[in-house]
Symmetry: C2
Subunit: 469 residues, 2 copies
């Protein structure tokens, strides 16, 4: 971090803070626009001055907002002002694009400056040969640590942890600990806890810095340390790590290897990113998007969206096949063709409501095997109640519209059936997928809407065929 | 926190960690089942023993998983073991239910023990009279702080912050600071930074505890402190606060009043909850659910889902009205009625994909006015490319199915039109809503699917009427 005073001048505009909340922090659209103009004008001085004033996280946002050509130009002009930190804040797609344009030596330099988890991210995106080339250019010590990091599976604690940490023996006192810290080199950049270890380097407790600072020098570490701690096995999934930090409000936690020895630590700021990522993944998957493709190329984006649409085409054709069995009924009573989409659409929406709640509750572990039955019964009842209300509404509308009470009865009955099915399917399908280790966020939606479409059409047209013909 | 050793016995099962990842931490379904049985058997001793072994966050989960009757019974049996912390971890709906059953004096006792932000949450749920009754029972000092907290708007920094913090003058040295901490009373429970203030109590920098601990006693605070800091106005929206913490990787930040004086601090653990809440809100709203209703009563849940379904009924009827203009065409060529839902369904899915990416990108500020045009053009092209591919697929399927090349051409053309519309609407609608200060997560979906439904039906049936009749 730079030592330039950057405290925001709040005093200057004490009354306008509330109104301008959105504009107080973060990258400003006007700044982006201006830098674009400077780039077009090749105004090197102004560009360098603007970049120098921005926080690394905001420079990352700026780069994301520029077109590829402007990005390259910016880096050419202000490469020395764009610190390694900027790369750790960049969107994956954009970072990959930038790294692709770099020479091996440049990548090695970048990797060398990045924090371990970010360095591994950059290397992980490279082809195997290029990865090896970059590793060969790194100083031996750093290379070993990074190679070990790469050996852990993606999205596990091993990838998230940093190796630098502070560990002290239980028999030290606070004074010794503070003296050690004042002399020590290679301390982590930010840390909130000191780990207390036994002679085998197994963690036996933690000493939060605030506790340490508030204790007198002669107090033994063993007296103020917390013995209750949550250890993280190095292979633990990052989603599980995020759960642990949230559930027990941790600021940092020790990572242990298979024999239980302390090998790293994870701090809450790394976990904040994981929580966002995991929530983002659920949102996108529920919307039928497999990955964040905002900054992806057109062809790449079209490709990632294609699979889901193909599945949907198949299910839509399936629904049409179901409809085709009732073509005779529709030919006789064309009102059926007109009203047909309503029941399916209402079922789809009711099912989506339930499955959204279910998917989220599974992710946050509020919905588990032990309360499944109660919640399922509740959802079925909710669906039935709303089904009845909407049956009355649509029944009356259809009756008035087509002047035929029978059509009203038919659509009302189909509505109750389909909304009940929607409520049950919206809960049962995500639970079943989860049990079979399939991410409910990615697959629930297609199953539920296929069911509500087909049941919607078949119930309505089927009941109509029986009653009206 | 208890002083009982609770380090997990990893050594006992070093090889099974990976397989049992899911079961290592958090509440176990078997435990819930067992406690249910004990509750039915009135086995007070076993229940108390089990509860005593659980972390407060896990007790909260346990209570959420029980039925209302079991909940009351559990609290009757183990009230003294259920600490105030449990209430801060409870789901809002469940906590409200439990607090509703308490006497005023009990609520006052709970509020008194809770941390400020949680105490305010509990009081905020109460009726105005009851709130006043509880406030009257609180010790004067605590009452004043809570009343001030209540005066800040919900979901703002004022509600999130805690009042306890450590602030020191710039001219102190590290030794003085440590001495002060060792003597001070009323320190915050957890803190990561000391704030450095000027004589008017305006923040001028921060001193991270790790920096303080690693510095020698005679070093002046002004030499090691960070002058670059992000100040949070007390009225700032919590979403903005979360953005700030994520963007600049903060561990804590100073909250200032309108004249710029330091009045509180927000720590990253409070922000972790906000990030989850805000992401959860987006997920639920995109799914047509206005609030997390997993633990809500049946009628309450049916009511919250009703509005969205009513809107959907209206748009579904609108689509049917559009279809009804083409009843003559469908009577002549019944294949039109059979194929009709496919184009609308594909458009709905393509539109949902785009709007999901857009809503998320707006929330994370990756999509702003400055890159809107580029992204919109990209989405339109993506939609066009996939539209063409799916047009060919469905055109061939329809041709083969109905043995009529014209039907194939008609549906193919309609598909391109509707998918292009879907891609554009999926991007333009969330952006437009955001500009008009309407949450794009809550309203985009209904607008986009209404458009894709109606355009889907009208394009297909309209082109068919022109070509086939």
């Amino acid at each position: 971090m730079s030592e330039v005073p950057e405290t925001e001048p709040l005093d200057k505009a004490p009354l306008s803070i509330r109104e301008e909340e959105d504009a107080v922090y973060g990258l400003n659209d006007d700044t982006v626009q201006q830098i674009r103009e400077y780039l077009d004008q090749n105004n090197v001085n102004e560009i360098r001055q603007q970049i120098a004033e921005l926080h690394s996280a905001d420079i990352a946002d700026l780069i994301e907002h520029l077109r590829p050509k402007h990005r390259s130009k910016l880096l050419l002009i202000a490469d020395d002002l764009v610190e390694a930190d900027v790369y750790s804040d960049l969107d994956d797609t954009v970072r990959e694009d930038l790294v692709d344009e770099m020479e091996t030596a440049e990548i090695a330099e970048l990797v060398n400056e990045l924090e371990l988890d970010d360095a591994i991210d950059v290397l992980d995106d490279l082809e195997k040969d290029e990865q090896q080339d970059v590793l060969n250019e790194l100083p031996a010590e750093n290379r070993l640590v990074i190679e070990e990091g790469l050996s852990y599976q993606e999205d596990t604690a091993g990838r998230l942890m940093q190796r630098d940490l502070v560990a002290v023996p239980e028999y030290w006192d606070i004074g010794q600990t503070i003296d050690y810290l004042r002399e020590a080199e290679g301390l982590p950049k930010d840390f909130y806890e000191i780990f207390v270890v036994d002679p085998r380097h197994h963690p036996i407790g933690t000493l939060p810095l605030d506790h340490a600072m508030c204790s007198r020098p002669n107090v033994p570490v063993s007296e103020v340390m917390h013995r209750e701690q949550k250890l993280i096995p190095v292979g633990m999934d990052q989603e599980e790590v995020a759960y642990l930090f949230q559930q027990y409000r941790l600021s940092s936690a020790a990572v242990v290897n298979e024999s239980g020895a302390l090998i790293g630590m994870i701090t809450v700021d790394d976990v904040v990113d994981v929580i966002s990522e995991e929530a983002e993944e659920d949102i996108l998957r529920l919307g039928g998007v497999s990955e964040d493709d905002l900054f992806g190329s057109i062809l790449e984006t079209a490709r990632t969206r294609f699979t889901w649409l193909l599945v949907n085409l198949f299910t839509a054709i399936l629904a049409s096949v179901a409809i085709s069995f009732f073509d005779a009924a529709m030919e006789k009573v064309i009102a059926l063709a007109v009203l047909m989409p309503i029941v399916a659409s209402m079922g789809g929406n009711a099912g989506t409501q339930t499955l959204t709640v279910a998917v989220r509750a599974i992710a946050t572990r509020e919905l588990t095997a032990s309360n499944m039955t109660v919640i399922l019964r509740k959802e079925a009842l909710v669906a039935f109640i709303n089904g009845c209300i909407f049956a009355i509404l649509i029944g009356l509308v259809s009756w008035v519209w087509f002047g035929d009470a029978d059509i009203g009865w038919v659509i009302a009955l189909a509505m109750v059936v389909n909304m009940l099915v929607a409520g049950i399917a919206g809960m049962v399908i995500p639970i079943t997928l989860e049990r079979h280790d399939i991410d409910p966020a990615i697959a629930s939606s297609v199953f539920v809407t296929t069911i509500t479409d087909i049941i919607g059409f078949v119930a309505f047209l089927g009941i109509a065929s029986a009653v009206l013909l």
